[in-house]
């Protein structure tokens, strides 16, 4: 039993090893949880593909402290993000915003799907046209009849 318990404890230790240090945390748990949510959406400018909430970089820590400081001084979540965005640009947001620069990013997948649907639709219409059965003309019927008759008479001899 003790072995299982220590195993579970050992496995859950990495989860507890977060970058946010106790001295950074706010006493107000509501503000602290807001800070954590904001931190998860901000990119660490040193490590690039990590949010500042889980980064141990110095700048990430500074930004975490800044987020908390702004929250304590009464900023809304949006204002805090805007404050940091004004200094580090759109790049600091892990979720790219929708603006003129990112239209391609947001709408290209939709465009590609539309093009794909178009291509498939055209191809299908073509295939359907081909499979329409045609009635032979009288002349063709006569020709085939003639050919079959010839073939039959050839076989018998």
């Amino acid at each position: 039993m003790l072995r299982y318990f220590s195993l579970i404890l050992a496995l859950s230790l990495p989860l507890a090893a977060l970058a946010v240090e106790p001295d950074e945390m706010l006493d107000d748990s509501a503000l602290e949880s807001r800070a954590r949510e904001i931190s998860k959406e901000l990119r660490c400018v040193v490590c690039l593909n990590q949010d500042i909430d889980s980064s141990n970089a110095g700048v990430a820590r500074d930004l975490r402290l800044l987020v908390r400081e702004r929250l304590v001084s009464g900023d809304s979540d949006k204002e805090v993000v805007a404050f940091i965005q004004a200094r580090y640009g759109d790049y600091v947001l892990l979720k790219p915003p929708l603006n003129e620069k990112t239209y391609v990013l947001w709408f290209a997948p939709l465009g590609m799907v539309a093009v794909a649907i178009g291509i498939v639709a055209v191809a299908m219409r073509k295939r359907r046209k081909k499979s329409v059965p045609k009635v032979l003309s009288d002349a063709e019927e006569r020709e085939i009849k003639q050919f079959i008759d010839q073939h039959k008479s050839g076989e018998t001899t």
């Binding site: 400018v45 700048v59 500074d62 580090y88």
Partner: protein
């Protein structure tokens, strides 16, 4: 219609090929963080001088009203590449008569003082940014970083990393020429 349809694979190949060609460009650095400050007014900040160094502090107001564009360098004594960059910056001041300002980023004043005493002090002004808050205002991601600021306080150029080596120095001098801090003959 059929002919246009037959061309679509080629079109797709060209689009993707162009994208790959762009991606293969050795000049492109995917880790580069674009700066929002370029062509924007320098951020508001005011820093005390480094204790024990006989150089005045640095504030936003020092960046405006200069006769020529000035260079502002973010450095620290704990930053190893800064040591190599120091010689380049010193030569900019001595040979090209550039006005050089510094932000001493997250450094202990006594360490910074020792560092400057050992290597020499080319800075006309140094602000001590022990909290790193001014660094955030400038949107820096590490040290060293070097900015060129126009006489009206507009940020003209930003170089991330040490200005060391032929390529980096060449790039930086080109930026100095573009901003009008040195003339093309000095390049």
């Amino acid at each position: 219609m059929g002919r246009i349809l037959a061309l679509t694979p080629l079109l797709i190949a060209v689009v993707f090929g162009g994208f790959f060609l762009w991606g293969l460009n050795p000049e492109r650095d995917p880790n580069e963080v674009p700066s929002v400050l370029i062509s924007q007014p320098a951020p508001e900040f005011a820093l005390e001088p480094v204790a024990g160094v006989d150089t005045p502090g640095l504030a936003r107001s020092d960046l405006t009203g200069n006769a020529t564009p000035v260079v502002m360098n973010v450095f620290a004594s704990w930053c190893v590449p800064c040591r190599a960059e120091h010689a380049v910056l010193t030569s900019l001041v001595q040979r090209d008569d550039i006005t050089l300002f510094g932000i001493n980023y997250k450094d202990k004043p006594e360490d910074a003082a020792r560092w400057l005493a050992e290597l020499g002090n080319p800075y006309a002004r140094i602000g001590s940014d022990q909290s790193g808050r001014a660094g955030i205002e400038w949107g820096i991601s590490g040290v060293p970083e070097t900015f060129i600021i126009g006489p009206d306080g507009t940020v003209l150029y930003r170089y991330v990393g040490p200005v060391v080596g032929e390529d980096a120095v060449g790039k930086f001098r080109e930026a100095l020429v573009q901003s009008g801090a040195i003339s093309r003959e000095d390049l």
